[in-house]
Protein backbone atom coordinates (compact mmCIF):
# COMPACT_ATOMS: atom_id res chain seq x y z
CA UNK A 1 0.00 0.00 0.00
CA UNK A 2 0.90 3.68 -0.30
CA UNK A 3 3.49 5.36 1.89
CA UNK A 4 2.34 7.28 4.96
CA UNK A 5 2.79 11.01 4.46
CA UNK A 6 4.27 13.33 7.04
CA UNK A 7 3.54 16.88 5.92
CA UNK A 8 5.48 19.55 7.82
CA UNK A 9 4.63 23.23 7.73
CA UNK A 10 7.30 25.80 8.61
CA UNK A 11 7.37 29.58 8.52
CA UNK A 12 10.95 30.25 7.38
CA UNK A 13 12.27 29.83 3.81
CA UNK A 14 14.10 26.85 2.37
CA UNK A 15 17.60 28.21 2.90
CA UNK A 16 17.07 28.91 6.61
CA UNK A 17 18.90 26.44 8.83
CA UNK A 18 15.65 25.39 10.53
CA UNK A 19 14.28 24.18 7.19
CA UNK A 20 17.64 22.62 6.30
CA UNK A 21 17.38 20.73 9.57
CA UNK A 22 13.98 19.38 8.45
CA UNK A 23 15.57 18.25 5.18
CA UNK A 24 18.08 16.17 7.16
CA UNK A 25 15.18 14.67 9.10
CA UNK A 26 13.40 13.87 5.83
CA UNK A 27 16.48 12.15 4.41
CA UNK A 28 16.98 10.13 7.55
CA UNK A 29 13.34 9.02 7.92
CA UNK A 30 12.81 8.16 4.26
CA UNK A 31 16.02 6.12 4.12
CA UNK A 32 15.43 4.24 7.37
CA UNK A 33 11.78 3.45 6.58
CA UNK A 34 12.73 2.40 3.03
CA UNK A 35 10.16 4.79 1.65
CA UNK A 36 7.29 3.62 3.87
CA UNK A 37 7.25 7.07 5.45
CA UNK A 38 7.27 10.04 3.13
CA UNK A 39 8.13 13.54 4.40
CA UNK A 40 6.85 16.65 2.58
CA UNK A 41 8.11 20.05 3.69
CA UNK A 42 6.03 23.19 3.10
CA UNK A 43 8.34 26.09 3.85
CA UNK A 44 7.92 29.90 3.75
CA UNK A 45 4.51 29.70 5.48
CA UNK A 46 2.90 28.39 2.28
CA UNK A 47 0.37 26.57 4.47
CA UNK A 48 0.41 28.23 7.89
CA UNK A 49 1.85 31.29 9.53
CA UNK A 50 3.99 30.59 12.60
CA UNK A 51 1.26 31.59 15.03
CA UNK A 52 -1.26 29.20 13.46
CA UNK A 53 0.96 26.15 13.64
CA UNK A 54 0.16 24.97 17.22
CA UNK A 55 -3.56 24.92 16.41
CA UNK A 56 -3.08 23.40 12.95
CA UNK A 57 -1.05 20.47 14.30
CA UNK A 58 -3.04 20.11 17.52
CA UNK A 59 -6.32 19.88 15.61
CA UNK A 60 -4.89 17.43 13.10
CA UNK A 61 -5.32 19.76 10.11
CA UNK A 62 -1.73 18.83 9.26
CA UNK A 63 0.50 16.04 10.59
CA UNK A 64 3.56 18.06 11.59
CA UNK A 65 4.70 21.63 12.01
CA UNK A 66 7.42 23.87 13.37
CA UNK A 67 6.47 26.74 15.68
CA UNK A 68 8.35 29.14 17.86
CA UNK A 69 8.00 27.80 21.41
CA UNK A 70 6.43 31.03 22.64
CA UNK A 71 3.60 30.64 20.10
CA UNK A 72 2.09 28.43 22.77
CA UNK A 73 1.88 31.26 25.28
CA UNK A 74 -1.81 31.85 24.55
CA UNK A 75 -2.57 28.29 25.71
CA UNK A 76 0.40 27.73 28.06
CA UNK A 77 1.70 31.00 29.55
CA UNK A 78 4.58 29.07 31.22
CA UNK A 79 6.46 28.68 27.90
CA UNK A 80 7.48 32.35 28.15
CA UNK A 81 10.23 31.05 30.49
CA UNK A 82 12.66 31.16 27.57
CA UNK A 83 11.98 34.84 26.89
CA UNK A 84 12.29 35.87 30.55
CA UNK A 85 15.13 38.37 30.52
CA UNK A 86 18.44 37.25 32.05
CA UNK A 87 17.10 33.92 33.33
CA UNK A 88 18.44 31.40 30.81
CA UNK A 89 21.20 33.76 29.76
CA UNK A 90 24.09 31.60 28.61
CA UNK A 91 24.63 28.94 25.98
CA UNK A 92 25.59 26.50 28.72
CA UNK A 93 22.39 27.06 30.69
CA UNK A 94 20.29 26.76 27.54
CA UNK A 95 21.97 23.47 26.64
CA UNK A 96 21.19 22.08 30.07
CA UNK A 97 17.59 23.33 30.06
CA UNK A 98 16.84 21.92 26.60
CA UNK A 99 18.66 18.58 27.06
CA UNK A 100 16.27 15.69 26.32
CA UNK A 101 14.72 14.50 29.57
CA UNK A 102 15.62 17.64 31.55
CA UNK A 103 13.10 18.83 34.13
CA UNK A 104 12.44 22.08 32.23
CA UNK A 105 11.84 20.33 28.95
CA UNK A 106 9.65 17.57 30.39
CA UNK A 107 7.39 20.04 32.22
CA UNK A 108 6.84 22.06 29.02
CA UNK A 109 6.39 19.07 26.72
CA UNK A 110 3.78 17.57 29.03
CA UNK A 111 1.75 20.79 28.83
CA UNK A 112 2.06 20.93 25.04
CA UNK A 113 0.90 17.32 24.84
CA UNK A 114 -2.43 18.46 26.34
CA UNK A 115 -3.02 20.65 23.25
CA UNK A 116 -3.02 17.58 21.01
CA UNK A 117 0.58 17.84 19.78
CA UNK A 118 3.65 15.84 20.73
CA UNK A 119 7.03 17.56 20.66
CA UNK A 120 9.43 15.54 18.50
CA UNK A 121 12.47 17.74 18.90
CA UNK A 122 13.62 21.26 19.74
CA UNK A 123 15.31 23.47 17.18
CA UNK A 124 17.86 25.90 18.55
CA UNK A 125 17.76 29.37 17.04
CA UNK A 126 20.25 31.22 19.20
CA UNK A 127 19.99 33.93 21.83
CA UNK A 128 18.50 37.41 21.67
CA UNK A 129 20.88 40.39 21.64
CA UNK A 130 20.34 44.13 21.70
CA UNK A 131 21.07 46.43 18.75
CA UNK A 132 21.13 50.19 18.93
CA UNK A 133 21.88 53.30 16.93
CA UNK A 134 23.95 56.17 18.28
CA UNK A 135 24.47 55.23 21.91
CA UNK A 136 25.32 51.77 23.19
CA UNK A 137 22.82 50.06 25.48
CA UNK A 138 24.86 48.48 28.29
CA UNK A 139 22.93 49.22 31.48
CA UNK A 140 19.17 49.58 32.10
CA UNK A 141 19.32 53.42 32.16
CA UNK A 142 20.52 53.35 28.55
CA UNK A 143 17.14 52.01 27.52
CA UNK A 144 15.18 54.76 29.27
CA UNK A 145 12.87 56.60 26.88
CA UNK A 146 14.04 54.63 23.83
CA UNK A 147 11.72 53.01 21.31
CA UNK A 148 12.76 49.37 21.12
CA UNK A 149 11.73 46.71 18.61
CA UNK A 150 10.53 43.53 20.38
CA UNK A 151 8.96 40.24 19.27
CA UNK A 152 6.64 39.09 22.04
CA UNK A 153 4.88 40.32 25.14
CA UNK A 154 7.49 39.23 27.71
CA UNK A 155 10.24 41.09 25.88
CA UNK A 156 7.84 44.03 25.72
CA UNK A 157 7.46 43.99 29.50
CA UNK A 158 11.24 43.74 29.79
CA UNK A 159 11.67 46.96 27.81
CA UNK A 160 8.98 48.68 29.88
CA UNK A 161 10.68 47.63 33.11
CA UNK A 162 13.81 49.46 31.94
CA UNK A 163 11.80 52.58 31.05
CA UNK A 164 11.79 52.01 27.29
CA UNK A 165 8.86 51.94 24.84
CA UNK A 166 8.33 48.51 23.26
CA UNK A 167 7.24 48.40 19.62
CA UNK A 168 6.14 45.18 17.94
CA UNK A 169 7.77 44.92 14.52
CA UNK A 170 7.92 41.77 12.41
CA UNK A 171 11.26 40.26 11.39
CA UNK A 172 10.84 41.24 7.77
CA UNK A 173 10.11 44.90 8.59
CA UNK A 174 13.06 45.17 10.95
CA UNK A 175 15.60 46.54 8.48
CA UNK A 176 13.27 49.31 7.34
CA UNK A 177 12.29 50.20 10.92
CA UNK A 178 15.94 50.64 11.92
CA UNK A 179 16.93 52.40 8.74
CA UNK A 180 14.10 54.93 8.93
CA UNK A 181 14.53 55.42 12.65
CA UNK A 182 11.02 54.19 13.52
CA UNK A 183 12.76 52.66 16.58
CA UNK A 184 16.07 53.53 18.28
CA UNK A 185 17.00 50.04 19.34
CA UNK A 186 15.88 46.48 18.91
CA UNK A 187 16.38 42.86 19.82
CA UNK A 188 17.05 39.97 17.51
CA UNK A 189 19.04 36.74 17.24
CA UNK A 190 22.63 37.01 16.03
CA UNK A 191 21.95 35.10 12.82
CA UNK A 192 19.41 37.78 11.87
CA UNK A 193 22.08 40.48 12.12
CA UNK A 194 23.88 38.75 9.27
CA UNK A 195 21.02 37.40 7.15
CA UNK A 196 19.01 40.64 7.28
CA UNK A 197 22.14 42.81 6.91
CA UNK A 198 21.20 44.76 10.03
CA UNK A 199 24.85 45.82 10.40
CA UNK A 200 24.19 48.27 7.57
CA UNK A 201 21.72 50.25 9.64
CA UNK A 202 22.75 49.74 13.30
CA UNK A 203 25.92 50.92 15.08
CA UNK A 204 26.02 48.89 18.28
CA UNK A 205 25.59 45.22 19.10
CA UNK A 206 25.40 44.45 22.82
CA UNK A 207 25.90 40.76 23.59
CA UNK A 208 23.25 40.54 26.29
CA UNK A 209 22.16 36.92 25.66
CA UNK A 210 19.09 38.02 27.61
CA UNK A 211 16.64 35.49 26.17
CA UNK A 212 16.73 32.24 24.26
CA UNK A 213 14.82 31.58 21.05
CA UNK A 214 13.64 27.99 20.60
CA UNK A 215 11.47 26.35 17.99
CA UNK A 216 9.66 23.04 18.53
CA UNK A 217 8.86 20.43 15.90
CA UNK A 218 5.38 19.07 16.57
CA UNK A 219 3.48 15.99 15.46
CA UNK A 220 -0.24 15.48 15.91
CA UNK A 221 -0.76 13.13 18.86
CA UNK A 222 -3.56 11.07 17.27
CA UNK A 223 -1.54 10.65 14.10
CA UNK A 224 1.45 9.60 16.22
CA UNK A 225 -0.61 6.98 18.04
CA UNK A 226 -1.73 5.61 14.67
CA UNK A 227 1.87 4.85 13.67
CA UNK A 228 3.44 1.43 14.31
CA UNK A 229 6.04 1.06 17.06
CA UNK A 230 8.71 0.61 14.43
CA UNK A 231 7.73 3.81 12.61
CA UNK A 232 7.70 5.75 15.87
CA UNK A 233 11.18 4.43 16.59
CA UNK A 234 12.52 5.55 13.21
CA UNK A 235 11.06 9.03 13.70
CA UNK A 236 12.32 9.38 17.28
CA UNK A 237 15.84 8.30 16.33
CA UNK A 238 15.98 10.71 13.39
CA UNK A 239 14.62 13.53 15.56
CA UNK A 240 17.26 13.04 18.23
CA UNK A 241 20.00 12.92 15.64
CA UNK A 242 19.07 16.12 13.83
CA UNK A 243 18.38 17.98 17.08
CA UNK A 244 21.95 17.51 18.29
CA UNK A 245 23.33 18.41 14.87
CA UNK A 246 21.45 21.73 14.84
CA UNK A 247 22.34 22.70 18.41
CA UNK A 248 26.03 22.17 17.62
CA UNK A 249 25.73 24.02 14.36
CA UNK A 250 23.97 27.03 15.84
CA UNK A 251 27.07 27.95 17.87
CA UNK A 252 29.04 28.07 14.61
CA UNK A 253 26.31 30.07 12.89
CA UNK A 254 26.32 32.63 15.71
CA UNK A 255 30.11 32.91 15.80
CA UNK A 256 30.10 33.46 12.06
CA UNK A 257 27.37 36.12 12.27
CA UNK A 258 29.27 37.91 15.03
CA UNK A 259 32.45 37.91 12.93
CA UNK A 260 30.50 39.38 10.00
CA UNK A 261 28.97 42.09 12.19
CA UNK A 262 32.44 43.02 13.46
CA UNK A 263 33.95 43.01 9.99
CA UNK A 264 31.15 45.23 8.69
CA UNK A 265 31.99 47.83 11.32
CA UNK A 266 29.49 47.20 14.09
CA UNK A 267 30.78 48.06 17.52
CA UNK A 268 30.48 45.06 19.83
CA UNK A 269 29.86 45.45 23.56
CA UNK A 270 29.96 42.64 26.15
CA UNK A 271 28.31 42.91 29.58
CA UNK A 272 30.35 42.69 32.77
CA UNK A 273 28.99 40.46 35.58
CA UNK A 274 28.07 43.65 37.50
CA UNK A 275 26.07 44.96 34.57
CA UNK A 276 24.22 41.66 34.28
CA UNK A 277 23.24 41.97 37.94
CA UNK A 278 21.98 45.52 37.33
CA UNK A 279 19.74 44.20 34.55
CA UNK A 280 18.52 41.33 36.69
CA UNK A 281 17.47 43.76 39.40
CA UNK A 282 15.55 45.92 36.94
CA UNK A 283 13.60 43.07 35.41
CA UNK A 284 12.21 41.54 38.60
CA UNK A 285 8.68 42.88 37.85
CA UNK A 286 8.75 40.83 34.63
CA UNK A 287 9.54 37.69 36.62
CA UNK A 288 6.73 38.49 39.07
CA UNK A 289 4.16 38.91 36.35
CA UNK A 290 5.39 35.67 34.78
CA UNK A 291 4.78 33.86 38.05
CA UNK A 292 1.28 35.33 38.23
CA UNK A 293 0.42 34.30 34.63
CA UNK A 294 2.09 30.91 34.51
CA UNK A 295 0.92 29.65 37.90
CA UNK A 296 2.20 26.47 39.49
CA UNK A 297 4.12 25.24 36.45
CA UNK A 298 5.88 28.57 36.12
CA UNK A 299 7.11 28.35 39.70
CA UNK A 300 8.29 24.77 39.14
CA UNK A 301 10.10 25.82 35.97
CA UNK A 302 11.90 28.68 37.74
CA UNK A 303 12.95 26.27 40.51
CA UNK A 304 14.23 23.85 37.90
CA UNK A 305 16.32 26.67 36.35
CA UNK A 306 17.75 27.49 39.78
CA UNK A 307 18.78 23.84 40.07
CA UNK A 308 20.59 24.09 36.73
CA UNK A 309 22.55 27.12 37.92
CA UNK A 310 23.98 25.27 40.93
Amino acid sequence: DAAKKLRITIQVPLKNHLTQNLLEFKKEVEAESKGELEVEIYHSAQLYKDKEVPRAVGSGAIEMGVASLTRFSGAIPAVELFYLPFVLNSEELVKKATAPGSKVRTLIEDEIQKTGSRVLWWQAYGMAQVLSNGDVIAVPEDMDGKKVRVFGKTLGKFVQSAGGVPTLISGSEQFLAYQRGIVDAGMTGLSGVKSRKLYQVMDWLTLTNHSDIEFVVLINEKFWEGLTGEEQQIITTAAQKVEVALRDKISEVEADALATARKEGMKIRELSPEEVIMWQETVSPVIDSYKADAGEIGVQLLLAVDELKK
Binding site: R55, S59, T70, F72, G74, A75, V165, T167, L168
Partner: protein, 169 residues
Amino acid sequence: MQLLGVFDKLTRALGVVSAWLFFVIGLIVTYEVVMRYVFNAPTIWVEEISRMLLLWGIFTASAFVLYNNDLIRINMLLAVLPDPLRRVMDIVAYVFIFGFAAFIAWWGGVIALDVWTTNETTGSMLNIPLWWSEIVIPIGFGLLAVQCVVEIIRKFIDPRPLETKLELH
Protein backbone atom coordinates in the same frame (compact mmCIF):
# COMPACT_ATOMS: atom_id res chain seq x y z
CA MET B 1 -42.70 36.71 2.68
CA GLN B 2 -42.72 38.66 5.93
CA LEU B 3 -39.98 36.42 7.28
CA LEU B 4 -37.82 37.30 4.27
CA GLY B 5 -38.32 40.96 5.15
CA VAL B 6 -37.04 40.34 8.67
CA PHE B 7 -33.90 38.68 7.35
CA ASP B 8 -33.35 41.46 4.84
CA LYS B 9 -33.55 44.03 7.63
CA LEU B 10 -31.02 42.17 9.74
CA THR B 11 -28.69 41.78 6.77
CA ARG B 12 -28.89 45.49 5.91
CA ALA B 13 -28.28 46.44 9.53
CA LEU B 14 -25.17 44.25 9.66
CA GLY B 15 -23.92 45.87 6.45
CA VAL B 16 -24.19 49.30 8.07
CA VAL B 17 -22.44 48.03 11.21
CA SER B 18 -19.61 46.68 9.06
CA ALA B 19 -19.24 50.02 7.25
CA TRP B 20 -18.82 51.77 10.61
CA LEU B 21 -16.28 49.18 11.73
CA PHE B 22 -14.04 50.17 8.80
CA PHE B 23 -14.53 53.81 9.81
CA VAL B 24 -13.37 52.98 13.35
CA ILE B 25 -10.31 51.16 11.97
CA GLY B 26 -9.36 54.34 10.09
CA LEU B 27 -9.63 56.41 13.27
CA ILE B 28 -7.63 54.12 15.54
CA VAL B 29 -4.88 53.52 12.97
CA THR B 30 -4.44 57.29 12.66
CA TYR B 31 -4.46 57.58 16.45
CA GLU B 32 -1.59 55.08 16.54
CA VAL B 33 0.48 57.10 14.05
CA VAL B 34 -0.09 60.30 16.04
CA MET B 35 0.74 58.63 19.36
CA ARG B 36 3.92 57.11 17.99
CA TYR B 37 5.19 59.95 15.85
CA VAL B 38 4.12 62.95 17.91
CA PHE B 39 4.04 61.61 21.47
CA ASN B 40 6.66 58.85 21.19
CA ALA B 41 4.15 56.50 22.83
CA PRO B 42 3.05 53.69 20.50
CA THR B 43 0.03 51.72 21.68
CA ILE B 44 -0.08 47.96 22.10
CA TRP B 45 -3.72 47.58 21.11
CA VAL B 46 -4.32 49.30 17.77
CA GLU B 47 -2.71 46.68 15.54
CA GLU B 48 -4.50 43.77 17.17
CA ILE B 49 -7.90 45.44 17.55
CA SER B 50 -7.90 46.68 13.97
CA ARG B 51 -7.17 43.16 12.70
CA MET B 52 -10.08 41.88 14.76
CA LEU B 53 -12.38 44.61 13.44
CA LEU B 54 -11.36 43.76 9.87
CA LEU B 55 -12.34 40.12 10.43
CA TRP B 56 -15.70 41.18 11.85
CA GLY B 57 -16.26 43.77 9.14
CA ILE B 58 -15.62 41.39 6.25
CA PHE B 59 -17.50 38.35 7.45
CA THR B 60 -20.57 39.99 9.00
CA ALA B 61 -21.17 41.89 5.75
CA SER B 62 -20.79 38.86 3.45
CA ALA B 63 -24.54 38.24 3.61
CA PHE B 64 -25.13 41.90 2.74
CA VAL B 65 -23.11 41.83 -0.48
CA LEU B 66 -24.92 38.66 -1.51
CA TYR B 67 -28.32 40.23 -0.73
CA ASN B 68 -27.37 43.43 -2.55
CA ASN B 69 -26.06 41.47 -5.55
CA ASP B 70 -22.65 43.15 -5.29
CA LEU B 71 -20.47 40.06 -5.61
CA ILE B 72 -18.21 40.20 -8.65
CA ARG B 73 -19.16 37.54 -11.19
CA ILE B 74 -18.54 37.02 -14.88
CA ASN B 75 -21.83 37.69 -16.67
CA MET B 76 -20.55 37.33 -20.20
CA LEU B 77 -22.25 34.00 -20.96
CA LEU B 78 -25.24 34.51 -18.67
CA ALA B 79 -26.16 37.66 -20.57
CA VAL B 80 -26.90 35.71 -23.75
CA LEU B 81 -29.01 33.00 -22.09
CA PRO B 82 -32.82 33.11 -22.23
CA ASP B 83 -34.45 34.31 -18.99
CA PRO B 84 -35.67 30.95 -17.62
CA LEU B 85 -32.20 29.45 -18.03
CA ARG B 86 -30.58 32.45 -16.38
CA ARG B 87 -32.90 32.01 -13.46
CA VAL B 88 -31.81 28.39 -13.15
CA MET B 89 -28.15 29.47 -13.23
CA ASP B 90 -28.80 32.05 -10.51
CA ILE B 91 -30.27 29.33 -8.31
CA VAL B 92 -27.31 27.05 -9.07
CA ALA B 93 -24.98 29.82 -7.91
CA TYR B 94 -26.93 30.27 -4.65
CA VAL B 95 -26.89 26.52 -3.98
CA PHE B 96 -23.13 26.44 -4.60
CA ILE B 97 -22.54 29.34 -2.20
CA PHE B 98 -24.87 27.75 0.34
CA GLY B 99 -22.84 24.53 0.31
CA PHE B 100 -19.60 26.43 0.79
CA ALA B 101 -20.95 28.70 3.53
CA ALA B 102 -22.58 25.86 5.48
CA PHE B 103 -19.35 23.83 5.34
CA ILE B 104 -17.25 26.76 6.57
CA ALA B 105 -19.77 27.71 9.27
CA TRP B 106 -19.80 24.16 10.62
CA TRP B 107 -16.05 23.57 10.77
CA GLY B 108 -15.38 27.17 11.80
CA GLY B 109 -17.84 26.51 14.63
CA VAL B 110 -15.82 23.47 15.68
CA ILE B 111 -12.70 25.66 15.92
CA ALA B 112 -14.47 28.49 17.76
CA LEU B 113 -15.97 26.07 20.28
CA ASP B 114 -12.53 24.61 20.87
CA VAL B 115 -10.81 27.94 21.58
CA TRP B 116 -13.76 28.91 23.76
CA THR B 117 -13.61 25.80 25.95
CA THR B 118 -9.80 25.91 26.28
CA ASN B 119 -9.87 29.64 27.11
CA GLU B 120 -7.02 30.18 24.71
CA THR B 121 -5.78 33.77 24.29
CA THR B 122 -3.89 35.50 21.50
CA GLY B 123 -0.66 35.35 23.54
CA SER B 124 0.21 38.81 22.26
CA MET B 125 0.93 41.94 24.28
CA LEU B 126 -2.79 42.62 24.48
CA ASN B 127 -3.56 38.95 25.21
CA ILE B 128 -7.31 38.86 24.51
CA PRO B 129 -9.42 35.69 24.24
CA LEU B 130 -9.12 34.06 20.84
CA TRP B 131 -12.83 33.29 20.56
CA TRP B 132 -13.61 37.02 20.30
CA SER B 133 -12.41 36.84 16.73
CA GLU B 134 -12.69 33.12 15.85
CA ILE B 135 -16.45 33.16 16.44
CA VAL B 136 -16.95 35.51 13.49
CA ILE B 137 -16.40 32.61 11.04
CA PRO B 138 -19.41 30.52 12.14
CA ILE B 139 -21.56 33.64 12.61
CA GLY B 140 -20.64 35.25 9.28
CA PHE B 141 -20.91 32.12 7.18
CA GLY B 142 -24.00 30.94 9.06
CA LEU B 143 -25.70 34.22 8.11
CA LEU B 144 -24.46 33.86 4.55
CA ALA B 145 -25.94 30.35 4.31
CA VAL B 146 -29.28 31.64 5.60
CA GLN B 147 -29.17 34.51 3.10
CA CYS B 148 -28.65 31.98 0.27
CA VAL B 149 -31.84 30.21 1.32
CA VAL B 150 -33.67 33.54 1.47
CA GLU B 151 -32.49 34.41 -2.04
CA ILE B 152 -33.50 31.01 -3.41
CA ILE B 153 -36.99 31.44 -1.96
CA ARG B 154 -37.12 34.92 -3.42
CA LYS B 155 -36.26 33.48 -6.84
CA PHE B 156 -39.38 31.34 -6.71
CA ILE B 157 -41.55 34.30 -5.72
CA ASP B 158 -40.01 36.74 -8.20
CA PRO B 159 -38.67 34.93 -11.26
CA ARG B 160 -36.79 37.86 -12.79
CA PRO B 161 -33.09 37.11 -13.30
CA LEU B 162 -30.53 39.11 -11.32
CA GLU B 163 -29.56 42.47 -12.69
CA THR B 164 -25.94 43.03 -13.48
CA LYS B 165 -25.03 45.77 -11.05
CA LEU B 166 -22.19 48.13 -11.44
CA GLU B 167 -20.23 49.10 -8.40
CA LEU B 168 -17.27 51.39 -8.13
CA HIS B 169 -14.02 49.69 -7.26
